[in-house]
Symmetry: C3
Subunit: 148 residues, 3 copies
């Protein structure tokens, strides 16, 4: 393939990927006043991030009034492991419509380093790259990202 | 109340809250080239955040040229306690037009955990939720938030 | 000079500064799907930030498909010191079009505190204020900033 046609092939692939991604984006809160993405990428901040999600739901007047996503990356993915002490809280927030994402780049890196791929909670939604997902949601879907 | 009418009641309440909030938003720097919100939510970063505020004022050419807010949340609210070692610097920056916010969710949590509600400096402006305030300022008032 | 004319003088200076800054802004990736700024302002996160840059390039389909800047501030500038253990990785990412910035405010502060101005890698681009640069890129050039 020539350089030029290869470039267009890459552009085409990227567009397909972007489209596929957008189609799966959930957006089922017509009353939401705000769309907020919470980044969790450190160990030891799990409880804080879950508290912030609960406080935001209360602040906006209930789970229908705010759309919240928690994106876990790096050490942050421990929140979503099958032996996480926070599973009950994660399940409860999931039932309120909070979505939890896990970065597949992180899973790949951990598998490469330890030989074992971490198992994640049934509430976890996988995204290829946590940071690319954050950028995507800010640019395309009007989310504001904060890192509690 | 039916589910439908309760939903509209909640929507109405939320609108009232949003309006009340917007009316109190200060906006008295017609020459400001940028509106910058600094998030302080960790212990031990107080001095860094105050330094960044000073550097930004110098960078933009004086206190009239940039609108700065410092939002303290979680451990960050210690900056604004009445026994904070930074009170003189907070007062000096307040006189330059920097506004300091304290998250009431944090005050409530600390009061619940310790039995004592932290006392805050006279320069502190209270907001119900620090993170909701950050989202509000980014979406509605063109602020950029950074976490030094 | 009167107060009024001094104010306009300051406004004029600020405009000159803004123009000078804008002219130097690199923007040479017409195929980029996203413009992403990575903030590095802590010690010990160098490797994580470089990993994130590599993952983003792979995620978007190659160095032409995403425009990445890494802005180092405070302890983060160690990434760019001439004795940094990451120099080879910095050079490799620079060749892929990633741009590395160093905050001059930080260099000034370190020189004031230690008597020695840190020497920075040849790949480093200097900006007067790292945080003002982040704000500038978000507001004027459609960058999304994340702090890995």
């Amino acid at each position: 393939m020539s350089t030029a046609s290869r470039r267009w092939f890459v552009v085409g692939l990227a567009c397909l990927a972007a489209t596929a991604w957008a189609d799966k984006d959930p957006d089922d809160k017509p009353f939401a006043e705000a769309r907020i993405l919470l980044q969790l990428s450190e160990a030891g901040r799990e409880s804080t991030v879950l508290d912030v999600a609960n406080n935001l739901i209360r602040h906006y007047g209930g789970p229908d009034m705010v759309d919240i996503e928690i994106v876990t990356i790096g050490q942050g993915i421990k929140l979503m492991s099958t032996d996480s002490p926070y599973r009950a809280r994660v399940t409860s927030l999931s039932k309120s419509g909070v979505r939890f994402y896990v970065c597949e780049n992180t899973l790949d890196t951990m598998e490469r380093n330890t030989g074992i791929r971490p198992e994640v909670d049934e509430n976890a939604l996988l995204v290829p790259s946590g940071f690319a997902y954050i950028v995507h949601r800010i640019k395309e879907h009007d989310f504001v990202a904060v890192r509690p």
